[in-house]
Amino acid sequence: MKPLTSAPNTQHQTDHLRLNVPRCCTGGLVLAALVTLLPMGAAAERGTGDLGIVVERAAGTLQLIETSGNTVLGRIEGLGDLSHASAVFSRDGRYAFVFGRDGGLSKVDLLASRLVKHIKQAGNSIGGAISQDGRLVAVSNYEPGGVRVFGAETLDLVADIPALYGTEGKTSKVIGLVDAPGNRFVFSLWDAGETWIADMSDPSRIGIQKFTGIGRNPYDALITPDGRYYIAGLFGEDGLALLDLWHLEAGVRRILPGYGKGEEKLPVYKMPHLEGWAVAGRRAFLPAVGRHEVLVVATDSWTEIGRIPVKGQPVFVMARPDGRQVWVNFAFPDNQHIQIFDTKTLAQVHALEPGPGVLHMEFEPRGEEVWVSVRDADRVDVYDTATFERKANLPAGKPSGIFLTARAHRIGL
């Protein structure tokens, strides 16, 4: 029996090798040279649509992953302090732009599994965005407070937008930076309670439009997947600040203004996150600040249509790409749990307890699997979203954010 099974295997490996080599280079010698020159497999003809990165926050490294076989392809070092790091992707899905906490901005080549360029653009940063045309990468900074915009090709500085507010020349920490149609960036000022739109359609003449008095301490924001509504969550008061980018003349209006009226807010041990993923069909699912609740909002009227009681204070509320489920993780001390709810009935479908320190969840583009980082277990889990069975678990050093290249083609991610 043995020879029979081993023969097809050999055949399979040969096919595999052949597939990886460009057709013009099938000569044995050339093949050998390529393999030696490019040990990371850079010569391999492969797409990037199933690639992604896992941030290892303590070591400041990235794991390069692929979601077809759920494996780790490599590790990329030298990106600085990656606590609270996030990433966006170039439109060809080849490069990741990684925003580090220490103001580092890194460009990573996923095909070659290597760091292309790393700059230190500020003292303290929180996130970034890539422009609609893919030519500009913007970073939101805490120190110095503002937004800096770089060319995606070279990471050369294109624009510096200090978040000046008030009359004393103070700058604000900037949060909730997203890209919007029209080659615009939209972001909010934590200290000032303002939302700004930077029109980058002519980088030599940037137009800035400011909306003041949006509410106290906006902590994060999302743009809906269609690029129309920008919603900032408020830490300093109840409700969220909504800006309709199709009707800027209407200004920012408050939605869900009384979602916690008369109730004492619980202490918040981790700020929730807002992302475009939270929109499922005609409903948006938003984490309530300081409450054990997910707020359900109708996206046509932007009024509350329900609340889901949950195990702890929600951090991420992520809709599966088909919009049928939302997955919720939690702040300390409930961060060992994940709860999954049906978006139609709002009933719990399932609950998981992967271990302490569940920091992030990322769905594969069509939603059949989800990647979960379990910080304190030094592990990344992959779950089947239909059976909730764990399909894979991969060792990773204090993993936090997981970012797949499918984000490259979505507004606001």
């Binding site: 302090d81 220490d102 120190e143 202490p267 981790k270 700020m271």
Partner: protein, 123 residues
């Protein structure tokens, strides 16, 4: 007779202990701060506290405590902040800001140990 004396003594003791509870409370309150510096948490608990500091405090103050939404907590940034102030800030939070009280998860001694750690420079 002897028994009577014993009972009387017990009653006196009971009354006294009731009062003593009150005074013990104030004594503890008075002595807690000096005791805290000498009462180190166990090695296992210290490891948990360091983990809490870097990972959970780190969500707002940064993994290296260089600051984030919250201010930096590196030793040089805390020069003018007494240990007692830092310990109180950890335990009770700072109303009107995003800093929450950590009292549900930490004892006075543990907060004081963390405050000392911050003053000395992080692990």
């Amino acid at each position: 007779m002897i028994r009577c004396v014993r009972y009387a003594a017990r009653i006196v003791a009971l009354v006294a202990s009731g009062l003593a509870v009150l005074s013990i409370v104030s004594l503890v309150a008075l002595t807690a701060a000096p005791a805290a510096a000498s009462m180190e948490p166990s090695a296992e608990r210290r490891a948990e506290l360091v983990h809490l500091l870097t990972q959970d405090c780190g969500s707002c103050h940064g993994l290296t405590l260089a600051g984030g939404l919250g201010p930096p907590l590196q030793a040089q940034a805390l020069v003018d902040k007494p240990v007692e102030y830092l310990a109180a800030m950890i335990l009770y939070g700072r109303p009107g800001t995003a800093m929450p009280p950590w009292r549900p998860f930490l004892s006075d001694e543990e907060a004081a140990w963390l405050a000392h750690l911050l003053k000395r420079g992080t692990p």
